[in-house]
């Protein structure tokens, strides 16, 4: 059936399958996907874990005072996230640094692994990013109530605004607060998915000989942009997590 459909389409001209790269399929054989089935998600997440271990554990195994190249990268990543947490969240956010570092390393490694040709981008799936986004949302909200009690609700009561405006602002703040996890997760998934789909569309244009050179140049340019986006989105996800954490720890406006 699939071949029929593809064949019919190829008869009609170009064949684009920009979303095919995001299909989740079992690693071994066909069949329904249960929650435990090893799929390509499993494979690429395992590779992500290996990449994290290689970057942060294996490269630092020599514990050299004068760092090698790999150790420099590990130290740079550590210092980058540590400084971000310290700058955005403040000194009392440091104890949540391992969690934020976990998120950052997972996202950045998954994004870069997804840029390999013929790979599967785990972070382009809303299921994945939504778990992380809502996880951050619930963790931060619960933490805010534990740390501040009912004073956490002061986050929605803008005391600097005129009294008449405050209920309106409170509703807007409340809505924007609950939109946070949605935008937080869809931003990452959407960026990854859009970039990879655009790459695929440009690659599809390369089937036409006349515009193939332009299409290949386009693929190259978009790929460069995607390398940038892969890092920036990990950075943005992490820094927004820090911002939400700061709101939870210091809810006063």
């Amino acid at each position: 059936m699939a071949t029929e459909a593809h064949g019919a389409e190829q008869g009609g001209g170009l064949s684009f399958h920009p979303m095919d790269q995001f299909i989740v399929k079992p690693l071994f054989g066909d069949g329904p996907i249960a929650w435990y089935t090893p799929t390509n998600v499993t494979l690429w997440m395992a590779l992500t874990i290996l990449a994290v271990i290689a970057l942060l554990v294996l490269s630092t195994s020599r514990r050299a005072i004068v760092p090698s190249r790999g150790q420099s990268i590990a130290e740079m990543a550590y210092g980058f996230v540590y400084k971000m947490v310290e700058d955005v969240t403040g000194k009392d956010g440091i104890k949540y640094f391992p969690y934020i570092m976990t998120l950052f390393m997972f996202i950045v490694c998954a994004n870069f692994l997804g840029l390999l040709p013929a790979s599967f981008t785990t972070t382009s799936h809303i299921a994945v990013t939504a778990v992380m986004g809502f996880g951050v949302f619930f963790a931060v909200t619960i933490l805010g109530f534990i740390k501040n009690g009912t004073k956490f609700l002061g986050l929605f009561w803008v005391s600097s605004a005129p009294l008449a405006l405050r209920p309106v602002l409170a509703i807007i703040e409340l809505i924007s607060y609950f939109v946070r996890p949605v935008s937080h997760s869809i931003r990452l998934a959407g960026n990854m998915m859009a970039g990879h789909a655009v790459l695929k569309v440009f690659a599809g244009f390369a089937q036409v000989t006349a515009i193939a050179p332009i299409a290949v140049l386009g693929v190259t340019a978009i790929y460069g942009l995607e390398v940038l986006v892969a890092f920036i989105q990990a950075y943005v996800f992490t820094i927004l997590t820090c911002v939400y954490l700061r709101d939870a720890l210091h809810p006063a406006h």
Binding site: M84, S183, I186, R187, G190, A194, V236, I239, L240
Partner: protein, 78 residues
């Protein structure tokens, strides 16, 4: 090229939703341009505000991503 009127509507809607991505691009450019203008006026304060810059860009871009998502949903999911 046969198809029904619903498919026509889907594709037109997806195309319209894609305009939203372009407007988000305007927003991102606005954020970055204003940051650059401010940074050139006061270069010493610029380095401490790059985090704010990225947060602003992320918020502006998120809405564009929403419209892109609407386009995708119209194309593939409806």
């Amino acid at each position: 090229m046969e198809g029904d009127i619903a498919q026509l509507g889907q594709f037109i809607g997806a195309g319209l939703a894609a305009i939203g991505s372009g407007t988000a691009a305007i927003g991102v450019g606005h954020v970055a341009g204003n940051f650059l203008a401010g940074a050139l006026r006061n270069p010493s304060g610029a380095a401490s505000q790059t985090a704010t810059l990225f947060i602003g860009i992320a918020f502006a871009e998120a809405l564009g991503i929403f419209s892109f998502l609407v386009a995708l949903l119209l194309m593939f999911a409806v």
